[in-house]
């Protein structure tokens, strides 16, 4: 089934009775060439690019819950390429380019909206830091515009520019930044992979990884044993538990990050606005809800919900920045489990077990990485070589201390990111 404008029109006029399921619901086979553990955004895009770029289709994606039920459905949907460090910047630049072609590539409306992202600054020192970051983005081939106070005012007239603690000095505009519909990204990749022959198997939890003589042989699941020549672990917040099945300890601590959405409002916030000093960022969904979030709760958690102190902090930051939202009613809040690494950057690497590959450590930035993460992980799993854009995401950088990717410059320690 292909989506076309004509088809949408026809279905709209005939009661939408002609739509079929977007992917099959196959029972797991006894053996696959490749098993991907984890049917989130990263796992699905890995399977999609393995099939599309490398012609590998004897693949199963095993998801313990349902497609779209994990972090890919729990984020704040922001897509950007405004990283500073070499190692990160080329990766997110690669990802943004994939985003820009994604809808045509998948034949799926992921509602990618390049509405522009503005990072605000509040001091001369911060202006210098953002000018430097903007230059790094431009050198990477991406876009950045340094706005002064009046420049920000033209875009975001509703901010409290004269806030006593955080007066607005300006902002760094990333015009190609924006948002996308998170569920649609998962669904689009699932459909694209399925159409190429990948089996997407939901309600199938991996309970063990079979390893013989240092080589992976398959996985044990709640739906039986599955043999595989290669296995990829792409399970975000649960990386520690799945890696333990292969006898590994990871440099990862899982934390909860909360997000919030208000009732639907008329269009008011046209951009993604990031208020780093308050750990607050916000955009408005196409449905009208204000989608916003803050920082981690800052304690290890698997609860997928946070505590009230961070709720209060986020609301206070929002009111500090844009008092106009004070009467909007918050509809829902939720938490996602972030696989935090010591330096705040991800891991795409081989493991000490032949045929077993690892993709994790996306911290609180995994959504925008979905296309490039899958693309680069597929490259590694298919060819055994590191993709140029993800060559820095090595597992051993913590042990050796070489090429740590500490974007915030706070130190490569667990409680600092």
């Amino acid at each position: 089934m292909r989506f076309t404008g004509l088809r949408v029109l026809k279905e709209g006029l005939t009661g939408n009775r002609g739509w079929a399921h977007h992917w099959r619901d196959p029972a797991p086979k006894a053996e696959y060439g490749i098993v991907i553990i984890g049917g989130g955004g990263h796992g699905l895009s890995t399977a999609y690019y393995l099939a599309r770029e490398y012609g590998l289709t004897n693949i199963a994606v095993l998801e313990k819950g349902y497609i779209g039920g994990g972090n890919v459905g729990r984020n704040t949907t922001i897509v950007r390429a405004n990283y500073f460090l070499q190692g990160n910047s080329e990766f997110y630049s690669h990802s943004l380019k994939l985003w820009e072609g994604l809808e045509a590539d998948l034949n799926y409306n992921v509602m990618h909206s390049q509405r522009g992202l503005i990072n605000l600054f509040h001091s001369d020192g911060q202006r210098d830091a953002f000018a430097r970051r903007g230059n790094a983005m431009i050198n990477q081939g991406d876009d950045a515009v340094l706005l002064d106070r009046e420049g920000v005012r033209k875009h975001l007239p509703y901010l409290d520019f004269d806030n006593t603690r955080f007066p607005i000095y300006g902002g760094l505009l990333h015009p190609r930044g924006g948002t996308a519909r998170h569920d649609a990204v998962a669904w689009g990749y699932a459909r694209g992979a399925d159409q190429r022959g990948v089996d997407i198997i939901q309600n199938c939890e991996v309970t063990g990884i079979d390893i013989e003589n240092g080589t992976v042989k398959g996985v044990q699941t709640t739906r039986g044993a599955i043999r595989a020549k290669k296995v990829g672990i792409v399970v975000a917040g649960r990386s520690g538990q799945v890696a333990a099945m292969a006898g590994m300890r990871l440099p990862i601590e899982s934390h909860v990050l909360q997000a919030f959405v208000t009732e639907g409002l008329k269009p008011a916030i046209d951009h993604v606005v990031s208020f780093g000093m308050g750990h607050f960022y916000i955009s408005q969904s196409d449905k009208g809800g204000l989608v916003f979030g803050g920082d981690l709760d800052f304690y290890a958690s698997y609860a997928q919900r946070g505590n009230l102190p961070m709720v209060e902090h986020v609301m206070e930051a929002g009111m500090t920045l844009m008092p106009m939202i004070g009467k909007a009613k918050v509809l829902r809040s939720w938490g996602g489990i972030m696989d935090m690494t010591p330096d705040g950057s991800p891991i795409i690497d081989k493991t000490g077990v032949d045929g077993l590959y690892l993709n994790c450590g996306w911290c609180y930035g995994g959504f925008k990485a979905v296309p490039a993460s899958g693309n680069c992980f597929a490259h590694l799993m298919a060819t055994g070589r590191f993709h140029g854009a993800a060559a820095g995401f090595r597992l051993d950088r913590f042990r050796t201390g070489r090429r740590l990717l500490d974007e915030e410059g706070t130190g490569a320690q667990h409680n600092l990111h």
Binding site: R249, E253, N307, Q413
Partner: protein, 91 residues
């Protein structure tokens, strides 16, 4: 989430600074080697369930507390002064 400080009693989570997994009580000796230090600084069991972590009563009495806690339910099971628990904690 409320944490019971052995000195101050049950207090709001905001009074405490979270240091992380309680491995900090088992600091390797200086020449323990790369693997031991990597394990200490970076690698974590990261359990989904009962864990022990270190909290500092920053806005209270400044004591370091080993909190036994469930990471799935956020239930606090035990709070003990770090200086009294040192020998019980393993990496």
């Amino acid at each position: 989430m409320r944490i019971t400080c052995p000195f101050c009693g049950e207090r709001d989570r905001r009074e405490f600074y979270y240091q992380g997994a309680a491995v900090a009580l088992e600091r390797p000796v200086a020449d323990a080697g790369e693997e031991a230090w990597d394990a200490y600084v970076h690698l974590r069991d990261n359990p989904a369930g009962v864990t022990k972590d270190l909290w500092y009563h920053e806005s209270g009495c400044s004591s370091w507390i080993v909190v036994t806690r469930n990471t799935v339910t956020h239930e606090i099971l035990d709070c003990t002064l770090a200086c009294d628990t040192k020998s019980e904690v393993s990496i």
